[in-house]
């Protein structure tokens, strides 16, 4: 073997040795890493399992909480309906009293007419008998008419308190607004005979009928009217020794693709920070026990979610407040 060959062999052996050392090192390190990674994998799986259990528990709790919230919410909405019904009760009583008076008066008249009829029959005065029968028939129609009127008011009241919303039907919003305005006003007057307020209405006769759930929109109107009366009442107290005519204006207009109902008052008005919160549930400026804080929040939901409309407010402290309900006329089936 020549010197050069020996040198080449030694060099090759050295390189081989170096490569072996490197391979040996890499193998050792890989083995170490494998060990660590297997521990890590175990740990990660354990952690995942623990987290799965925690997540499931959290999910169960949330589901339960959601169910409870929904049921509480339903109860609250129902309570609010009953509360507004309470506000209506006095107005309803006032409204029913009218037809009842008619029914009573006409039936009393009829009793007398029947006596007269009996007498005329004895006399054989057929001419008179026919005339009395004709009065009787007219009076019976009036009794029936006012009976139906009372029935409609009671039906409306029941509708108002229903737990589930009713169907959308073509509704004369002018009539609805007018009826609820009177119910609200008389309801308040029944509770507080001192209360005085000028009511100014401006109903556009060409409004047409609009597809709404009348009991729901009625509740919204009732709410806005009650708030307006409350605001003017408060201002009346503040301005006790000054000239002030509490006034509530209600108007309905037809625009191109929508109908607007405006409820305006010259009451106390609201600062911007109150305006920002009035549609939040449970927000109220009324003393404890006087407001649920749900009226406007539910009204907002009824108009925006239930009827794809809008409810907005403009207010100025010391001047008054305007609430505007917008309802799309696209679903209107009238005219």
């Amino acid at each position: 073997m020549s010197g050069a060959e020996r040198e080449a062999i030694v060099k090759a052996a050295k390189e081989m040795d170096k490569a072996l050392t490197l391979a040996d090192f890499k193998l050792g390190r890989l083995e170490k890493e494998r060990h660590t990674l297997s521990i890590l994998l175990d740990e990660t799986i354990q952690e995942l399992q623990q987290k799965t259990v925690i997540l499931k528990q959290a999910n169960d709790n949330l589901t339960l909480a959601l169910t409870e919230t929904k049921s509480t919410q339903a109860q609250l909405i129902h309570k609010e309906k009953l509360a507004s019904l309470g506000e209506l009760a006095a107005g309803i009583a006032h409204e029913i009293q009218n037809p009842l008076n008619f029914v009573n008066n006409y039936s009393e008249v009829n009793v007398e007419l029947i006596q007269e009829l009996d007498e005329e029959l004895e006399k054989g005065n057929l001419e008179e008998v026919r005339a009395i029968l004709s009065y009787l028939s007219e009076n019976e129609q009036k009794i029936h008419h006012h009976g139906r009127r009372a029935e409609a008011i009671v039906r409306g009241m029941l509708e108002h308190a229903r737990a589930t919303p009713g169907e959308k039907t073509p509704t004369d919003l002018n009539a609805l607004a007018d009826e609820y305005l009177r119910l609200a006003y008389h309801g308040l007057r029944a509770k507080n005979p001192e209360f005085q307020c000028e009511l100014v209405t401006d109903f556009n006769p060409n409004l047409g009928s609009i597809q709404v759930v009348s009991s729901e929109v009625g509740r919204v109107l009732l709410n806005l009217f009650n708030n307006a009366f409350y605001a003017v009442g408060q201002r009346a107290v503040l301005m006790a020794d000054q000239a002030y005519t509490p006034t509530v204006w209600v108007s309905a207009h037809r625009l191109a693709d929508k109908v607007e109902i405006e409820v305006r008052d010259n009451g106390t008005g609201m600062p911007p920070e109150v305006q920002a919160k009035i549609f939040q549930p449970f927000f109220t400026t009324k003393p404890t026990g006087e407001g649920t804080g749900l009226g406007l929040s539910l009204s907002y939901d009824i108009i925006t979610k239930g009827h794809s409309g809008g409810l907005r407010v403009e207010s100025c402290v010391g001047q008054g407040t305007v609430f505007t309900i917008e309802l799309p006329a696209s679903s209107d089936s009238g005219q």
Partner: protein, 378 residues
Amino acid sequence: MKSKSIKGVTIPEITDRFDAALGDGFKPTLAIVFLSMKQDRKAVCQLLNKHNVAIFGATTAGEFIDGEIGEESIAILLMDLQPDYFKMEFMETGTETTRDIARKIGETGVSSFAKPAFIVASGGISTDGEMIVRGIEDVVGPDIPIFGGMAGDDFNMTGTYVFTNNYDSDDAIVALILDNQKINVQGLATSGWRPFGTIRTVTHSEGNVVYTIDDEPALDLIIRYMGVSKDIDTYKEVIVNIGSEFPMQIQREDSVPILRAPLYANQSDRSLVCAGSVPQGAQIRFSLPPDFNIIEKVVAECNEVKAFQPLADALIMFSCKARHLSLGPMVSEEIDQIKDVWGSPMVGFFSYGEFGKTINGKHEFHNNTCSLVVLKEN
């Protein structure tokens, strides 16, 4: 600027090679000296003092001038840099804080040069390297170059030293402040450690001591990953190896994670003393060592630096001891290939913490990193 690197295992050997280096009329003014605790620092200093060479010295956990890594040896980089282009500072901590003395170094820097650059080494096993960067930054701002390393002690973890011509201390900072308008200082800090496992939270820490991670004693957690028994007798080996095994990557919002390696553990409270601050509440991930292809990546990054610094008069490398342990024989290959990028004389050592910048980051204190400094006289 001309530079030469020499190495040896005995004082006579170094003396011979030093004399040989001077043979062609080379007159060094500055020496970067990295040597083992076993070596006679005084004798080396005397040799250099005789020739009026300024010394920037640190003890190491291994030192090199090329891929052949010395153990318990001496490695020196000699440069004939004009004395008014640099200033050597040596500051003992004494009763002051690390940050305080780092500020003083920063002040010397700004009073000496319009644009200073800092190369620092620190002695002291539990010194928080981050405070050195912060202290200098307090004075000079965040954009001034800071490179360097924490001295080593052959991995005994008993005491690390820095030294200059007539001073030597295990509780001091030595700083080579360069006139950056005369000497271009570029560099690169690169790690390659791969994050693994889920993000964990440091639940209790003070400065650079980590007590608990996710409410578990920090040492217990690391021992679990290593898969060793908790027998107290095995602790010693565990403690020595933890830094190389599982450096923590502190997650940061706007920049890449920063590595923090445990230097040693306290058995009594099972805490870890790290080579830099680990804030309480920090989100961390542990790391696995760099892939075997790390060398190609490092060389590629060096070539990026070379693109705007094509020539070098000298190279200084501060490479983490943990990196040496995890790359094993591959680290020689890495050093050789980095050296070949510029083909300039080099000196380096295995350190307990590194100062430098990542390719897109700013100057920071790192662990488990290789920090390279490229010097070129304008």
